[in-house]
């Protein structure tokens, strides 16, 4: 049980607003860790600080035993943290395969070898048959899976998923859940996800952290967390789950 990712007292302020206020947690190697909370709780801010897209005001972020605090996003990715975007951003004019090759070229210098690696990832995500389609012509569920594919192709140690289920129908959500669970089981890939879709959180996460107004109000197993009165009050509502 070693911590792959540790956040120590991380805070972020936007002028007067404290978006993330002294958040600490550890993500253990090989687990699926979910961060949930109501809109404006600071989830995406937290996520962007881990990914290097935002700098934290204070605190420390440690990945694989080394500080990644303040590193730019590309350097964070090269350390082994890949991310997806809440609003999908595949490279629109490139083919599905080329999108994933870009990711694969991070660790692989040879283009032909990167193509092979990309194809393997595309098979994994049921996108192989659509590999020559232009990314902008894909449906939203396909684009979401394409983003996951591009991130996976960089061969990360930690995968950050920012609301990857948002906008998906329940059947599509189940498909994504199955894919992520299989990848986690087979390769031991650690996943940190931000999610609103409780159906996915309950099915995937081994541990859940609940944020509200930038502070941690609960953490533990999904079953514990959904019964926590503070979580029910601030986020889930009395009739949920």
């Amino acid at each position: 049980m070693t911590a792959l990712l540790s956040l120590k007292n991380v805070s972020k302020r936007f002028r007067g607003l404290v978006a993330v206020d002294g958040v600490s947690f550890d993500v253990t190697e090989g687990e699926i860790f979910a961060v949930i909370g109501p809109n404006g709780a600071g989830k995406t801010t937290l996520f962007n600080m881990v990914a290097g897209a935002l700098n934290s005001d204070s605190g420390e972020i440690i990945f694989s035993g080394r500080s990644i605090t303040g590193l730019p996003p590309d350097a964070v990715c090269r350390r082994g943290i890949a991310r997806t975007f809440q609003i999908v951003r595949p490279f629109p004019a490139l083919s599905v395969e080329d999108n994933v090759i870009v990711g694969a070229l991070q660790k692989e210098r040879n283009v032909a070898a990167a193509r092979e690696r990309a194809r393997a990832v595309l098979r994994r995500l049921d996108l192989f048959d659509k590999r020559s389609r232009i990314a902008s012509t894909l449906t939203l569920p396909d684009r979401k899976r394409l983003e996951v594919a591009r991130a996976l192709a960089t061969e990360p140690k930690l995968l950050l998923l920012d609301e990857v289920m948002a906008g998906l129908r329940p059947t599509e959500t189940d498909r994504m859940v199955a894919i992520l669970r299989d990848i986690n089981r087979e390769s031991g890939l650690t996943i940190l996800l931000i999610e609103h879709v409780m159906r996915a959180v309950m099915a995937l996460a081994s541990r859940v952290l609940v944020l509200d107004h930038g502070v941690v109000i609960a953490s533990g197993s999904p079953e514990q967390v959904v019964r926590d009165p503070a979580v029910v009050r601030s986020y889930l509502g009395t009739e949920a789950v």
Partner: protein, 337 residues
């Protein structure tokens, strides 16, 4: 025919290479069959195809709009011409000096822009500004005769001197034909390389490219430097073909615009676009001039108006340029075209 072109575009089979070779052979033997006038037109086409190809690396591949490429061509022209006239240094050696200087200038502009987050149209304005600095600066640079102009000695040459680039237009024809072919090969290799993929990613979505681990600053710098160094060779040709250089002309924004019209018309980001665009624009413009001359009209500026109309038509009807449209019609895959 259709499949043959498709194969060329994919650049795989021996048959495709044979087809491209046939085109090259046709252009190689052309000087024996066509008039001197047409040779001159073709030289201009090659020059525009070559510089368009170089510009396309920055804009078409890496998505960085430069409107000041006259700077790099001008540096290539002035440096090689000055070294030649003052010290008798051959242009090929001069190019080995000019290319790194042009790349350095590109690097300075790139550094200022990319380090301080100047992008899009503001980046384009910065490139214009530097070309203008050069224009005004060279106008006062007495070492290259300032605004009086730098002239290369012109004499009747008994034979073509390829090493010193003195001779008949036919020699320049072959020099620029070779340069265009080499530029095509280089760009094709770049586009298929690891760096080529990173450039396309940056062009498509810089933030997503960074999230995929790409050091966007570094790869944008490479794009500017390679593009600048390549463009400077266009300047070498310009100096030794026209034999006179005036800052007012060489660094004029018109030179920059000329270079980018071909790729825009032909298809930004494609390999065939800059070549096709140069042929279409220059070919049609020359025909218009010819037709008007035949009917006894002499309208200065008619060519420019024609350029404008062509641009307008393409922008309205084929916003991606002629090549992507043509490629679709011929059933060729757009990517790598």
């Amino acid at each position: 025919m259709k499949r043959a072109i498709a194969r060329i575009a994919e650049g795989r089979s021996n048959f495709a290479i044979a087809w491209l070779a046939a085109l090259l052979v046709a252009l190689t033997v052309a000087p024996w069959f066509v008039s001197d006038y047409l040779i001159t037109v073709l030289i201009v086409i090659f020059y525009l195809a070559f510089t368009g190809q170089a510009w396309n690396i920055m804009m078409g591949f890496a998505g960085q709009l430069s409107l000041g490429h006259a700077l790099y061509a001008g540096l290539g022209a002035y440096i090689t011409a000055a070294l030649f006239t003052r010290y008798g240094i051959a242009p090929w050696i001069g190019f080995l000096v000019a290319a790194p200087v042009a790349a350095m200038c590109g690097a300075i502009i790139g550094f200022l822009a990319f380090r301080f987050g100047v992008s899009g149209v503001y980046f384009a304005i910065l490139t214009i500004a530097f070309a203008e600095f050069a224009r005004i600066g060279f106008d006062h640079l007495t070492v290259v005769n300032a605004s009086a102009g730098l002239f290369l000695p012109v004499a009747q040459y008994t034979h073509n001197d390829l090493w010193r680039l003195r001779g008949h237009p036919t020699m320049f024809y072959y020099v620029m034909l070779t340069a265009t072919a080499v530029a095509f090969i280089i760009c094709n290799a770049l586009l298929r390389s690891r760096m080529g993929y990173f450039w396309l990613a940056i062009r498509e979505d810089e933030q997503a490219a960074r999230a995929a681990g790409i050091d966007t600053f570094r790869y944008k710098m490479y794009a500017v430097m390679i593009s600048a160094a390549m463009t400077s060779f266009g300047g070498v040709f310009y100096a030794f073909f026209y034999n006179n250089l005036f800052p007012e002309q060489v660094f004029n924004i018109t030179r920059s615009i000329e270079m980018i019209l071909g790729p825009i018309i032909g298809g930004i980001g494609t390999l065939f676009g800059p070549i096709l665009g140069a042929f279409v624009l220059t070919g049609l413009a020359e025909s218009v001039t010819g037709v008007m001359a035949a009917f006894g009209f002499d309208l200065p500026g008619a060519k420019q108006i024609f350029y404008g109309i062509c641009l307008l038509l393409v922008v309205v009807a084929l916003p991606e340029g002629i090549w992507p449209w043509l490629a679709r019609r011929l059933g060729i895959k757009e990517r790598d075209s």
